[in-house]
Each structure stands twice: as C-alpha cells, then as structure tokens.
Amino acid sequence: MNKVVTTSKSDSDQPKKTIRQRLAYIFGQYTIQWLLLFAAIILSVINPNFRQFSNIRNILLQSSFIGIGAAGVTLVIINGGIDLSVAGIVGLCGVVLAMLVPKIGIAGAIIVTLILGLILGWINGVVVVRVRVPAFIATLGMMNIYLAIGFIITNAKVLPVTDKTFRALATKSFFGFPIPFLAMIVVYLICFVVLKYTFYGRFIRAVGSNQMASFIAGVSVDKVRIFAFMLVGFFTAVACVFLTGYLSHGQAIMAIGYELRVIAVAVVGGTSLKGGSGTLIGSFTGALFFTMISNSLNLLGVGAYWQYVAVGLIIITALGIESLRRRVLGIT
C-alpha cells in the first residue's frame, strides 16, 4: 500500500517535475492494475466469449486458488523471506482433509486442516529462524518432506472426496460470485488488517526492509519472522480447502509447481524479492491477471504449449516495465 511513500514525499519537496516523470508516475504506480484493465477491455472487445458472465465467473473462481496462496506468500516475501513449501503444504493438508471429511464432518475437517497449516508454517518458521537455515533451502527441504509425508500416509493413492456439501463450497456461487472468490477477498482483507493493525503484523514490513535496524529498535525479529511463516501456512491451508473441493480429491502432488506460480503472482504484482516492499492489492491483481491471460489464450485457441511461452514473456515483461519505471523515476 505504501510502496512509493518516499516518492510522494519527494513530490511535495520539489514540485517541478518533468512531464515524462509525471506520466511515468501515473502509469507506473499501478502498472499491473493498468495492464489488467487494458487487457480486460481489449479482450472483451475482440472476443465475445470472453465477456460472457459464465466465463468471467470462471476467471474469478480459478484466480482464487492461486490468489489465496499468493496472499500469504506476499507477506513472507515482504518480510524478507520466501516460502517454496506451499505445494507441500497444499498436498499434505489436501490428503488430510480428504481423509477426515467422511470421518469427522466438514467443519471439523476444515478446522483440523487450518490448524495443520498453521503448524506446518510454524515448523517452517522454526527451521528458518531458530535453526538458521536460509529460507530458500529450508522451505525447499520442507516441501520435499511434506510431500513425502503426504505420499506415505496415503500410500501414494488418490483420495476421492464425495461429500456434495463440501464440493459445493468450491463450486457454488453466493450473490453471483463464486464462494472461493469471496473467500479470497476476505483473505486479502484479513491480511491487510494483520499488516496494518496487529502487533506483529506491523513489524513484518519493518523486519523485511532492515532486520538489523528492527532488532536494534527492539523488535523481536525472530517472533515476527515465525509469525509470517505461520500466516503462509494458514492461508495455504485455506487455499487447499477450496482446491480439494474443486478437484474433489486429495493427493500429495495435487499442487506441484504451485510454489513458483504464487511467487510469480506476488512478484508480478510488484512485491520485491529483496523484502520490505510489496502490496497486497498487487498480488490480488496479479492473480486475476495471470488467470485472465491463460483463460483468454484458451478462448483464442492458443495451444497449451504456446501458453507456457506467453506466461514466461508476461512475467519478464511485467518486471521489465517495473524496473524501467524505477529507473525513470530514479528509485533504486
């Protein structure tokens, strides 16, 4: 939210700015949002199928699976960490959920899953912060471990979920909006509140931009970092509940590749991997943007293989624009 606070300050200090800088500022501050808007307008004009209600509903539905996961990952990246274990967390939570739904009912199963997510996130945090393994390697290792546990407890089988009410959670609509999409909005609101108004949350950004300074200022850096990893675990488990309902099965490898996709969404949304800067609204838009692009490529009849190329080009282009903007504005 306050990504460019420093620039707006310098704005008032020196009002004389070149037109080029002003234009770059206006179009630059919300790069991804502008891109989303333009792309949506162009696509609705050229493709009548795109603007149909059912298609838009589809986009909202599909973007929510990746968007909910990206919310947590955005927080941990802002905090200066990274989490590659989300695919493992989804896998393990998914199989546990699929096992528990027939046994203890939907509500109980969901609660257990969310608690499990919190615990897995806490384990990540402890390994990174207390054992001091670099986050990249620690979470990579933990992903492998979670996946293995998911395989071992299911014997590498696919567990079907037949409960209709549970599946309805992920497929039905509420006032025209898919339930997972509404959940995504709630998740982002929660993250916003956590980041702005809670004790630990307010330090997430501070620790991310300068750990040493935060430490000297008396912030309990370790606790804040563990808290950030717990948030990732929790929100990944939320994403997992809907994904399991949508796929109507639980399986350890149900989310392979998810970790890099959510990071890509966060990064395209303007979150810097160096920590300290990033916005939730950026990740929200990023999730919509990615889903919309792959949806429209489908509608335009672009083959699956070209979609890999397109997605890669989009990632690089979006970040290329971002770094150009920073250079034009003189932000380093």
């Binding site: 590659l84 390994v127 054992v131 001091r132 393994v133 670099p134 990249f136 390697i137 620690a138 990579l140 290792g141 933990m142 992903m143 492998n144 471990i145 979670y146 996946l147 293995a148 546990i149 395989f151 071992i152 590498a156 750990q211 040493m212 350890a252 890099l260 990071i263 890509a264 990064v267 810097s272 991997l273 160096k274 083959g303 699956a304 293989y305 070209w306 979609q307 890999y308 190329v309 397109a310 997605v311 890669g312 080009l313 989009i314 990632i315 690089i316 970040l319 290329g320 770094s323 150009l324 920073r326 250079r327």
Partner: protein, 337 residues
C-alpha cells in the same frame, strides 16, 4: 544471522587460528564426503547388491548429468543469482541435439546444442544485467518460455534417436574403464574450477557476488561478468541435455522438470552459499554423488520412490543445520579467546 557472519569474518582475520576452528574448517570441507562414506558403509551392510557393476555405472552416469547442471548453478550462486531455467534448457537442448543428429555429425551436434544453451543463457544474462529484472523472475519466466519452446519444437511427441551407435557411446562408453559421462563431469569440473579459482574472471565472479557495490567501485564490468556467468550456466545445462539424450536415446519436451531445484540443492549441500561470493565446485559433484547414491540405494531396497522426497528434504535441512551448528561453535571458540 548477520552478527554471526561478521564475527566469523573477524575470527578469520586473527593470525592464530585455534585448533578448534581449524578442526571445524576441516569438517566444513569434509562434511559431505564423510556423509557419503558413512552412507556407503551402511549400504554395504544392508544392501550389498548396490555394489554390482551395472548399478555403480548407472549411479555414476546419473550423478554426472546432475553434477554438470550443478556446476553452472554453483557459478550463478557465486554471482549471487540463480537460474531456474536449467530444467527447461536441459529438455530443450536434448530435443535440439536429437534433431541435429539427423542432419549433421556428432561433434557439430554437440557444438550446436551447446551454442543454443549459451544463447539462452546470454538472453538471461542480458535481461538480468541490462534490464535489471531480478534473476529469480527472469529465469522463472525463461523456464516457462523454454519449456513451451521444447514442447512446441517436438509437438509434444517423443523423438527417438536411432542409428547413432557412436552417440550412445557418449553415455555407455568407457575410457580406461571410467564411464564417459564421469569423464565429462570431471573434465568440466577441472575447467570451471581452474576458471573460478585461478583466473581473474573467476575472482571477479566472486567479487561481484560478494559485494556488488564494492565491485562497481573497483571498476569491474559487472554487466559483462553477469552475462558471461549466465551464458556458462546455459552451456552446462545444454551439456547435461546432450548427456541425457545420449543416455535415454528417446527425448521429449517434459524432461528435466524440477531439475532447477535439485541443482540448487546440490550446490548448497556442497557448500556454496546462497548469499554469493564463493562457489565450491568439487562439493557440488560430491553432493550429486550423495543424492544419487541415496536414490539408488532406496531403489535397490525397493523402498517406494516417494521416500526419495523425504531423504532429499531431510538431507537439505540436516546439512544446513550442521552448518549453522558449525558457525555457532566457531563463534564460541572465537569468543573464548
């Protein structure tokens, strides 16, 4: 964590390094080899069939292919970057080499394939240095693009390499009883090791990776160094693509999925830090051997394949946890003096 590394730096400046620290430094260098020896001894007891010739050959071939990719990744990590596109590059170049074999001879095929890898690496380097897109994102994008290119190039089908006995010898041949892939891996190691340790270019890589602004201040041409590093990463990935295609003799666009994280894992296990400034190439080879040994032993013991996830994960955490323990001990000894 920052405090630890700083006091560690101070201790190395002390003239009289205590015996304790010297022991720990020795341990740092020998940690992974020791682990490998211990595991081999355990395997000797519980799975003696591991040591039959065909299995050992297979093991050496697999770890050579993995290690070659790992070398490039080690250099990228020393430059304080990383390359997520190596898995896709391996698949793409394996497909390229398969089709080049159809039109030209073997040496030209290998050279052409390496050039393709070099080109992709240089594009990565250009994007990272000139456009200043972070390496993680650049190579993540490139991973997707090259994967798409590989699938498009093969139209999603498998390509069979037939009638090239000599090409298969790149994999199955032996020189003085040593499998050719291992010779390739050792040769590449020798070249890159000398380059990293004993040439100005190698020292520049570590200098830029260790402290970029200091390197700028001393007048190093950072952009060129970055482009060259990613070019080398692309070439090593392409070399592993050639080796893989010679091993399988049937290639498709889905090879090498997940290789990027494996390559990073072996580089880090081998003692290369993610924070840049140094690279341990021999360590990368030994870690590749370690990972393949564990995988092969589990296969022989008929443990389900998914237990390999568990061993990889535990090994990573365990090795890096030990590293932390070592740093804490070094600090304690340093403080006592």
């Amino acid at each position: 964590m920052k405090r630890t590394s700083r006091s560690l730096g101070q201790t190395t400046g002390v003239k009289h390094i205590s015996k304790g620290i010297r022991f720990l430094q020795l341990f740092e260098n020998l940690g992974v080899p020791m682990l490998l020896v211990i595991i081999l001894i355990i395997i000797a007891f519980i799975a003696p069939r591991f040591f039959i010739r065909t299995n050992l050959t297979n093991l050496l071939i697999n770890s050579s292919i993995l290690a070659v990719t790992g070398y490039g990744m080690t250099l990228a990590l020393a430059r304080e970057g990383l390359d997520l596109s190596v898995g896709s590059v391996q698949a793409f170049t394996a497909c390229i080499s398969a089709s080049l074999l159809g039109v030209t001879n073997i040496p030209l095929t290998i050279i052409g394939t390496l050039l393709v890898g070099l080109l992709i690496g240089i594009i990565n380097g250009l994007l990272i240095s000139k456009l200043r897109v972070p390496p993680f994102v650049t190579t993540l994008g490139m991973m997707s693009i090259v994967r798409g290119a590989a699938l498009l190039y093969t139209k999603g089908e498998s390509v069979l390499i037939t009638g090239h006995e000599n090409y298969a010898r790149l994999n199955s041949g032996r020189i003085l009883g040593v499998p050719v892939p291992l010779i390739i891996a050792l040769g590449t190691l020798a070249i890159l090791y000398v380059m990293l340790r004993h040439t100005p270019f190698g020292r520049h890589i570590c200098a830029v990776g260790g402290n970029e602004s200091a390197a700028v201040a001393t007048g190093l041409r950072i952009d060129r160094i970055t482009i060259a590093v990613y070019g080398i990463v692309g070439m090593t990935a392409a070399l592993s693509g050639v080796m893989l295609s010679a091993q399988l003799m049937i290639v498709d666009g889905t090879l090498g999925v997940g290789l990027e994280l494996k390559a990073i894992a072996i580089a880090v296990l081998g003692g290369t830090s993610l924070s840049g400034g140094s690279g341990n190439l021999p360590g990368t080879l030994i870690s590749a051997l370690l990972l393949s040994t564990i995988g092969s032993a589990l296969n022989i013991l008929k443990v389900p394949a998914y237990y390999q996830y568990l061993t990889t994960g535990l090994l990573l955490i365990f090795a890096l946890g030990l590293d932390t323990l070592r740093r804490i001990l070094v600090n304690k000894i340093a403080l006592r003096r």
